[in-house]
Symmetry: C2
Subunit: 203 residues, 2 copies
């Protein structure tokens, strides 16, 4: 396998944490997004949608989309399960993964892409007022998550899952997106510190 | 089980098609989104994120997020498989489901929510210029999909999957989002007609 990666970008970061949680190592080729490497004509062979990460399988097939790559790794290496154990649990992990993605990760990512001057290279045109509106949505999602964390250790329950990875990477991006993580959200802070201390995240 | 539904909204529509493909019938309670039923205080018990669909299970647990509900149904009724058969196929179906969701469904939905005057009740504030920019993204995704459909029957391969449901419902929404489906995309049109003729969709 070969993983097309971009070390500091949020989606590749999700896959990097997932691989580390599984103890799986994959050879990596780095793509410089700010130099627009992914817009070069030969990258269309890797991903016509011009995004990283992308995983080249041993038979030459190419798998893109972070969560799809994570599911493939889960299949190769089922333990520890990061998408839930039985079908019922998997449905609830999916719910939390998607809640974190659409209510938190996406608003933070949009605030960053439409609001940060350096992102004008990638996001054309930028809509700074749209970015501003996303900040309130992200804050609402953080308050929601803080309440949910009152009675459990992780986003989807007592086990660490893909939903924690999505939420944690979203919080990492808040700084560049100029979104304050409200300091009164103490359960969110406790969870964030616990996730941040995991060896998979600290790399 | 009890399904909180909103008959003409795109996400509940995805679950409705999925259930019909599986031959599963679930009692339904309709939520009037335009009357803001989902913003009433007692709806927070059903979904604190104020969205439909939501599926109340027999033990009282509540599962939200369309794709999570579909995964739960897939577990209850595995045939026909709409998320892929083995782990490898499931990863590729996930890739196509997410490509359709992020490259096509989301731009169309944003164009609708930020661009349609009636949606001002739900989307505050609206950003019409952002909506306009989404139309070009949706068109690019349709061209991409048309190319992919040159050598296969459905979005993710030779079998109908959740990725077809997401893409089809996105195309249904193009009219309200005032996005033209380019008539020269004949493979897209052929696929759309084939999906539209399925009994699950024609209801």
């Amino acid at each position: 396998m070969l993983l097309y990666d971009a070390p500091r970008a949020p989606n590749p970061r999700r896959v990097g944490i997932f691989l580390a949680e599984k103890g799986v190592t994959v050879p990596v080729r780095n793509v410089d997004l700010m130099a627009l490497d992914h817009m070069e004509s030969d990258f269309a062979r890797i991903n016509p949608l011009r995004a990283v990460p992308a995983l080249v399988l041993d038979d030459g097939s190419i798998l893109t989309e972070s969560v799809a790559i994570c599911r493939y790794i889960e299949w190769l290496r089922p333990e520890p399960p990061l998408f839930g154990r039985d079908g019922r649990e998997q449905a609830f992990v999916e719910m939390w993964q998607r809640r974190m993605e659409f209510a938190l990760f996406l608003p933070v990512a949009f605030a960053f892409r439409h609001g940060h001057p350096r992102m004008g290279v990638l996001e054309k045109p930028q809509f700074p007022e749209f970015a501003e509106a996303q900040r309130g949505r992200a804050a609402a999602a953080m308050r929601f998550l803080d309440g949910e964390l009152a009675d459990r250790a992780f986003v989807a329950g007592e086990a660490f899952t893909i939903a924690d990875i999505t939420a944690f990477v979203a919080l990492e991006l808040t700084r560049l997106a100029r979104i304050e993580v409200p300091p009164e959200l103490t359960r969110l802070a406790r969870w964030r510190a616990a996730v941040g201390a995991r060896p998979s995240v600290a790399v």
